[in-house]
């Protein structure tokens, strides 16, 4: 009986749910301990400002409008870069997954490019685009391209061939076969790619903005470092964490909506 009772709990641990507040306990506890350590003087303010100081800095920046502007700029770069790179990656994944010829033609090249760390291109990108918007968009797009490309390709390749045979037997046209069998079958894998890509998207943007930018969260952090405003530096880092979490949650919601058929997403 005890074992049986424990089973659903094990399941819910594996699948974090949005409605649970449990997931916020640990971050809150960390902030609490952090505040305590700063107030007692255990951690000097020069090393790490207290969360209350960080919040205060955030409030000031919010009032001046600087914070909202920088968040908006970063968010815009992230989403546009993601749409461009993800879109191209998705298209290549589809075409290479469905066509042997296209796969033979382009896959080797793409795999070679994949093995270059895209951040290594920063010097080249600055030479090409300067510190213009297009430089950041290019880097983000390049970064998100590969996880989405690889996972779309993998998803399409691993669709159950028995289902494809079934679709053909029941007279599905190529379009129907794609819409009813291949695409839904590849979708779980595509979502894995999207979530990987979201992580890479923020990483790329942070690096690009700290090195070559005149606005955005990364730029704000670098400026603050110049003036020894450590509370603003910590604030930008925290905002990155929040934005990352937001993007991940959005993809989870989308996942739950489109994969409701999947046993892992069904209500207990």
């Amino acid at each position: 009986m005890r074992l049986i009772e424990s089973l659903p709990r094990v399941r819910s641990l594996r699948l974090p749910r949005a409605d649970g507040l449990i997931q916020w306990i640990v971050p809150l506890a960390i902030i609490l301990v952090w505040q305590l350590a700063c107030v007692t003087g255990f951690v000097p303010a020069r090393v790490l400002p207290a969360p209350s100081d960080v919040a205060l800095a955030g409030w000031k920046l919010l009032l001046s409008g600087e914070l909202a502007r920088n968040i908006w700029v970063s968010f815009w770069r992230a989403s546009v870069g993601f749409v461009i790179g993800g879109g191209i990656g998705f298209a290549f994944g589809l075409v290479n997954g469905l066509s042997q010829l296209s796969n033979k033609l382009t896959d080797t090249t793409l795999q070679m490019v994949r093995n270059i760390p895209h951040l290594a291109l920063i010097p080249l990108v600055i030479l090409w685009f300067g510190i213009d918007e297009s430089a950041k968009l290019f880097l983000v797009a390049l970064g998100v391209f590969f996880p989405i490309y690889l996972n779309t390709l993998h998803g399409i390749r691993t669709v159950d061939p028995q289902l494809i045979e079934m679709g053909r037997i029941y007279g599905m046209t190529d379009g129907e076969l794609f819409r009813r069998v291949i695409f839904p079958g590849a979708l779980p894998s595509i979502f894995v790619g999207v979530r990987f890509a979201l992580g890479i998207m923020w990483l790329t943007l942070i690096v690009a903005e700290t090195i070559a930018a005149s606005s955005g969260l990364g730029y704000m952090a670098m400026q603050a470092r110049e003036f020894m405003l450590i509370d603003v530096v910590v604030l930008s880092i925290l905002i990155y964490a929040l934005l990352g979490k937001l993007a991940d949650s959005a993809s989870r919601v989308l996942e739950r909506l489109t994969l409701s058929w999947h046993p892992a997403f069904q209500k207990q």
């Binding site: 028995q162 289902l163 045979e165 079934m166 679709g167 037997i169 029941y170 007279g171 599905m172 009813r180 069998v181 839904p184 079958g185 979708l187 994969l259 409701s260 058929w261 999947h262 046993p263 069904q266």
Partner: protein, 281 residues
Amino acid sequence: MQEALRFLQTDAQPVDRGAFIEQAQLLRRSSEAAARGLPLTIRGLRKSFGDNEVLRGIDLHIPAGQFVAIVGRSGCGKSTLLRLIAGLETIDAGTVSFGEHARPEDVRVMFQEPRLLPWARVLSNVEVGLGRDRASPDAQVRAEKALGEVGLDDKRDQWPAVLSGGQKQRVALARALVSHPRVLAFDEPLGALDALTRISMQRLLERVWRDQAFTAILVTHDVSEAVALADRVLVIEDGRIAHDVSVDIPRPRRRGSADLAALEGSILRNLLQSADDTSDL
């Protein structure tokens, strides 16, 4: 359909009721005739995969509406024969013909795996079986009817993942039946089910075969299943038909009856004997 009825009511008042009913009956009879089975003739059928000659000349005639079981040891070519009949493999030599021109919807296959689309509800999975008629307005009604025939009306809005193995296989049967096929090929459809579910599925298969009168070809490794269901049992050995046994036991057949057991025993003896003869086992 509604259009036609309205037309009759408004413009064709003088049509007398008797003639109308007679016409409707005629219509119904012709649709029943369309649901009857197709005969199947196979001549000199050969198939190889690389150097391995799987079928070495099969000659076979199956009359319309007959229930034929094909048994044999694994690797004897029985599944290949079924896949050739269903048009899933290309023929190396010989012919497979169905008396008249068969539309793709006339020949359906049911596999050992249910092969349901996990991302489609049960009802949409059945609708897949309609083939080119999927987009027709009565698609849903027809799918519901087929689902009713296998006794799963109440599962129409479920995901396949929540069904049991037997229920999934019944959905697959409904999908195969929904287009009213005239030949239905079964490739060990009950192979993965437990013993009790198997027996109830066998009864279901027999019932739908009797109701819809299609030609049934059942590949199985279970000789007792073959004699319980079929009019005729074909034993395949080394890519040829080794025995052609007709099962003249009246239906409904009682499972475990002496007649069935005796027949099963003699077929099994044939199979085992040939297994002893071949030294390469």
